[in-house]
């Protein structure tokens, strides 16, 4: 295996520099980034094994970036944050981060976590890393993340709304795992501080949204095979998801 390549994403130059240097001293290839666009540049231009992502990035929430990245790519992400309040952590995990470290952190702890996550990633991915995911296949259906299009088993094109797409992605990222309405809501709603999500949804928006997605992505919406209800719990995506990446 080659030397792991890490992205260090932080808008504070000093922190970024220290982290980068520290990681390099410890045998990693560290690539500094300061914005989402520079992250994407790096992802497009070569293999990336792990992203160290600061939670506060200008006005942007790292959590949001993490969410977007995870919906497209399979690169492990460790969130780094000055905010150690529990709800921030929860938001991080629910959004698909592999780990979460609060500042100030022990450098050796960081190193250990980085190694642990890389180790896990190595185990769970039989393929080599890098690659941007472009196509999901599930039960005859096909979702093209690049074009945001869904194709039915019969080859019909279905167009999804923004929320429907987001919901489908949540399920595609968590096949066979029952998700509560609250978890789904958080995943769709992450605002970084979770304020809105917390106050939100006394209503049944998720139910309706699931119903609408069923109408588009089920052979027979009356007998759901993909988006199964778990009474008293929530919903599960009940089929395997195959992920293909483009070149």
């Amino acid at each position: 295996m080659t030397i792991p390549r890490l992205l260090v994403v932080d808008d504070d130059a000093e922190t970024r520099g220290m982290l980068t240097q520290f990681l390099r001293q410890n045998g990693f290839i560290a690539l500094p980034c300061d914005s989402e666009s520079t992250i994407r540049d790096q992802l497009d231009s070569g293999r990336v094994d792990l992203i160290l992502l600061d939670v506060m990035l200008g006005d942007e929430y790292g959590v949001d970036i993490c969410k977007r990245l995870r919906s497209e790519q399979d690169v492990p992400v460790i969130l780094v944050s000055a905010l150690s309040a529990d709800h921030h952590r929860m938001a991080g995990y629910e959004v698909g981060a592999d780990d979460y470290i609060a500042k100030p952190f022990n450098p050796n702890l960081l190193l250990a976590r980085v190694k642990a996550v890389l180790h896990r990633a190595k185990r769970s991915s039989s393929l080599t890393y890098r690659r941007s995911i472009s196509t999901f296949r599930f039960g005859g259906w096909c979702y093209d993340a690049k074009r945001d299009e869904v194709t039915s088993p019969q080859g019909y094109q279905v167009s999804l709304s923004r929320k429907e797409t987001a919901l489908l992605k949540v399920f595609l990222g968590n096949p066979h795992i029952p998700l509560t309405r609250e978890e789904i809501n958080t995943a769709l709603d992450v605002t970084g501080d979770g304020q809105d999500a917390g106050s939100g949804n006394p209503g049944r928006a998720i139910d309706v949204l699931v119903g609408r997605l069923r109408g588009k992505v089920e052979a027979d919406p009356k007998i759901p095979e993909l988006l199964r209800t778990q009474r008293g719990v929530g919903y599960v995506f009940a089929v395997d998801v195959a992920v293909e990446d483009d070149q």
Copy 2:
């Protein structure tokens, strides 16, 4: 391919027993443990696919045990806890647990999470697990656990509700053994701490449930041949059960 082997670690005998029984009824091999040393015995003596670990184990924290185990072995761990506060959850994840379930939990949720973790583990490891029990045959009837469908001796399809299905599974797992209403209730209601189950059911829910199941899974509900009443005791499943698993 073999049936997944799970360790159920809890120092409370009742919880341990309920969990073990419940998992066995659902096609797993469940091995009860009550301490770290018994865990190690099991790990040394054979393959273990997943550990269900109670967070409070005497004075010991399951989290600590989890940490030690993860530092040596690669066995997936699900932490089970009465403590649902976020920081406990975080501690669980940080220590390397694959999932975290708070008591009281929905049995089906537990089952689904167990399957999800095994599913993940299967993909990432060279071992091949899994081979869940899929078909039960009893007195001309047939229950397909995969599809949750019952077929009558005449070939008619019968659909069961969630609770009816759960009850049938309890009987299928304990043929010829008289079960008291309390035992049945416990088996259906696994809440982890049994709090709810204990306080619960002053009523006759089980009687009614058995009646409803008889209505669907008896040639003549008036003269039960499968679900026999034992006056003053409870109910028995009075025929042999043949188990087939898929390939």
